[in-house]
Amino acid sequence: MTDAVLSVRDLVVEIPTRHAVLKPVDGVSFDIAPGEILGVVGESGAGKSMTGNAVIGLLDRPAHISGGEILLKGQRIDNLPYARMRKLRGAEIGMVFQDPLTSLNPLLTIGDQLSETMIEHLGISQAEARKRAIAALDEVGIPGAADRIDSYPHEFSGGMRQRVVIALALCAEPSLVIADEPTTALDVSVQAQIIALLRRLCRERDTSVMLITHDMGVIAETADRVAVVYAGRLAELGPVAEVLGRPRHPYTEGLMGSTPAASAGRARLHQIPGSMPRLGHLPAGCPFHPRCPKAQDDCRTDPAPTLAACNGRAACWHPVNSPESEAAE
């Protein structure tokens, strides 16, 4: 696909340690179309944040990209020098992180932070930047934007701070926003506000979003397509209603079953036995097989299934809910 805003091809991230080379991201490929929201869902340690950080070039050393490519609007960005990448960040790719307090500078007013970004990336004057900053705050729903522009981050509540961060991410009109757990630190009612805001703004500007979260509910309501990550690999990728509604990978099915639903009443939750393998202790074959109820001998011996090898939807040798498996029953 050439019209994709972001293309990630066989991305591998490595962390060399004294004992072994760990691969927190191992052969991940996906595209994000203009205006599309791709949800990336997985449990802690699955490599979802690592993927996001690789895309914006913010991997902490010694982690580094050791294979594959990342293309933004057809241009490779994974091998750019630091200075070029720095220009790109903010201008072409906006970022929203989990904790709004740590992503804002406590010593600068929010107006200064917004203006700085716009002056740097859009090359506009100080006065113009201030005017646009007020408009941006107004747009993310901060009441009395003109009065609050000279406030410091600590003077805002958690939800309001996250709105400021979203304004900051979108003020230079990037084509892609990477939102890493944007609502995890927030209460449900505020979460609903922030999700609605992010969706509205991205629709209005045709901005693509890579939404990284562990919350299946947020993904279901927000994303167009979803990528399920397990042990650094994509387990399943597809339109959100299909992947969550009729999951084909046993891991996705297990995740959906373990997520409590209000309507289910006091039923026992389905549980996936065991826990995610530690990096460096990955089992041979499919990384999910020790926990998989459907595992067969070939899952333990054959090389790990990839999306490309398994019809592009679920990386599994024996998918559930697939047309073939249902025909077999």
Partner: protein
């Protein structure tokens, strides 16, 4: 059925004033934060009572007052008919104390990193001079870990395993009543499912009573027999989880249920709730929810609604009848 825990008109105020000298020089008044305001409920023996609310709603403060980590400013907590605040009989206090245990939210912060798991689990018994031989090993197997784990240190375990250790420790003194303060909110969904199932099994095996504190209404529906919804330190609604989900009678509960993301809500457009939780130091007069409530009338701004029986549960809203009627019509 008898109530094992009775909470009556419980109120807790925290003094958040500036230091004395600043108050004198800057002529500031004392400032009081009312974290819990006039909350009453009963927990029947062998059931799970859940407290749900957003941050700042006072749910953890209530939990701490129940186990005696905080003293109430007003009102009383009675456990097995004993008020630990006023009781003077040492033996009765000891008896009740050993029947109460607590499981905390963060399994990383609630285990001493320098102690072996064996010592951590046996501590509640050892502290009372009880017999601890083989106790930790037996409990570890009960919570799904292996007996060999008793010789390890907490850092050798994952978050879910640590929470199992916390549960084993809570079970050591054979309590009747356990306060669980967000026991799974630091865990991943698949691990959360394991821990919640374990807690349900143990409850049935030992006939335990839980106070389950959570911010997540969906988790609560799986665990609780009765749910109490808190807003700004006040109990606004109390009902069985099925009734609460089907026919929420308080506008705040409706908002919470509506705002919670749904697993099958593909592309659902939610009308996001308005406003934020008000400042608990200066709560709005009347009903605490009135600035955000779509059903607000003048009475709500003047008179604080009392918790009253409604259907099979209780609700604190002047207009609960209309709220439910409006919802029935809409659906």
């Amino acid at each position: 059925m008898t109530a094992i825990v009775t909470v009556k008109n419980l109120t807790r105020r925290f003094d958040v004033s500036k230091p004395w000298l600043n108050r004198v020089i800057e002529r500031l008044p004392k400032r009081k934060l009312v974290a819990v305001s006039d909350v009453s409920f009963d927990i029947e023996e062998g059931t799970t009572y859940a407290l749900v609310g957003e941050s700042g709603s006072g749910k953890s403060t209530i939990g701490k007052m129940l186990v005696g980590l905080l003293d109430p400013s007003e009102g009383a907590v009675e456990i097995e008919g004993v008020n630990l605040d006023t009781e003077t009989d040492r033996a009765r206090i000891d008896k009740v104390r050993s029947d109460i245990q607590m499981i905390f939210q963060d399994p990383y912060a609630s285990l001493n990193p320098r102690w072996k798991v064996r010592d951590i689990i046996a501590e509640p018994v050892a502290a009372r001079g009880g017999k601890t031989q083989g106790l930790a090993e037996r409990l570890l197997e009960q919570v799904g870990l292996s007996a060999d784990d008793a010789g390890k240190f907490p850092h050798e375990f994952s978050g879910g395993q640590r929470q199992r250790i916390c549960i084993a420790r809570a079970l050591a003194s054979e309590p009747k009543f356990i306060v669980c303060d967000e026991p799974t909110s630091a865990l991943d969904v698949s691990v959360q499912a394991q821990v919640l199932n374990l807690m349900s099994d143990l409850k049935d095996d030992y006939g335990l009573t839980y106070l389950f504190i959570s911010h997540d209404l969906t988790v609560v529906s799986h665990m609780a027999d009765t749910v109490g919804v808190l807003y700004l330190g006040r109990l606004v609604e109390e009902a069985a989880p099925g009734d609460l989900n089907a026919r929420p009678a308080h506008p705040y509960t409706q908002m919470l249920l509506d705002a919670a993301p749904q697993l099958d809500g593909f592309g659902r457009e939610v009308d996001p709730p308005k406003g934020e939780i008000p400042d608990p130091i200066n709560p709005p007069p009347g009903c605490a929810y009135n600035p955000r409530c779509p059903f607000v009338v003048d009475r709500c701004r003047e008179e604080r609604p009392q918790l009253r029986p409604f259907g099979a549960g209780r609700v604190a809203c002047h207009r609960a009848e209309e709220v439910v009627a409006r919802m029935d019509k809409a659906s």
